[in-house]
Symmetry: C2
Subunit: 253 residues, 2 copies
Amino acid sequence: MTRKVRIVVEYDGTDFSGWQRQTGQRTVQETLETAIREMTGETVFVRGAGRTDAGVHADGQVASFSFEATGVGIPPIGLLRGLNSILPPDVALREVHEAAPDFDARFSAQGKIYRYTVLADPVRSPRRARHTWHVRTPVDLAPMTRAARLLVGEHDFAAFRASDCDRRTTRRLVRRLDISRVAIGAGAELTFEIEATAFLKNMVRIVVGTLVDIGRGRIPEDAVARMLSTGDRALGGMTAPAHGLTLLRVIYP
Amino acid sequence: MTRKVRIVVEYDGTDFSGWQRQTGQRTVQETLETAIREMTGETVFVRGAGRTDAGVHADGQVASFSFEATGVGIPPIGLLRGLNSILPPDVALREVHEAAPDFDARFSAQGKIYRYTVLADPVRSPRRARHTWHVRTPVDLAPMTRAARLLVGEHDFAAFRASDCDRRTTRRLVRRLDISRVAIGAGAELTFEIEATAFLKNMVRIVVGTLVDIGRGRIPEDAVARMLSTGDRALGGMTAPAHGLTLLRVIYP
């Protein structure tokens, strides 16, 4: 009997070449598929809700796969424990659930939440280095917050995607974009949380890079409005590095 | 002219054999002394406020050293930037200050604050693995909190030290011991914060290991009271592993 499974996966993206299987690279998808084959004897295809880039982390990536379960019936908790004992230290399943036959982690998703962390501090912080983008100059939160407000809602995000992004439509609905600030010594840690129905390639990293470049005065505050109206990526800021980004949660009905 | 310097140091302890210089080992003290020699040309002795064990982290370790500054006068900020560019990714200075000639990071300290983090969850968490002790069984916070209260104040902590601890007196003043709990999926993250005038060797790790063993029912709640009255280490719980521990801050007048 074919069984469909939904898993919630946590990983430290530092030593992975991203989610998606690529020949000769260590990827999260391939690591999971290998562990499942080792445990069940079956070659499965693990479909992720989001194909995170190299270096991007996940607290709650979601994936689905089907398997035949011809051998001993394994309950979800047994699958979770068995796979976690096989998987390397930087990746683990947090949850395993039986899913409906038509569940697909990617196409059933109704939204995703990403978090991005920035340390704005003249001095680097070794304990944050793996998961935080370090910016040495001060950033001014007020113009960033004003610019961020313009991004909430349904817009054409053509200016906020990688040049090799192949999606046909570029309209997306951003449900929420919050920025919070905590003082750290002489500097500050900024946390961006962004929720949208779907994202274009590098969209969060271009949003954050553009807002940070506004906050440190490298580009004008009206850059966001102009990007939305013209679709011109060149008006924006840099693409923030991958290691500051975490896929927090995927939303299903 | 001899100058005395006070530095605040942050490190990820994972790949260090602790603070104190040991032949053939990679230690924080030796790494700092090498970087200072490279920058100033002087062989200095870096005195740390606390000699953290192998694997223990620090957000705010404090250390002091003297140097002759015979060359170009370097302001503290120049020393900080220069040393941080030489130091490896897992250690950095967060602050550098000129200090009074009689300042000594260890003997001038009036207290220290440590934090210990525990994940009580049937499932492991890759992104917490470097800095959190993972316990698979549930822990009951109520008896732990009651037992923790007995430790606050001045007591003989003879039962809360490593067998090779060489301090003559074992009375210590614990100013504060707080435990907080945040739900994480099906489990919980527990954070212990403990402030004392001074600590015995492994004292925080034995306190946390004993409280966690009370919380998961391995030893009775009155173990703490009996340890304090008898000085018998054998009545306590395990020594919690090093990697959950962080030296947060050192207190000076």
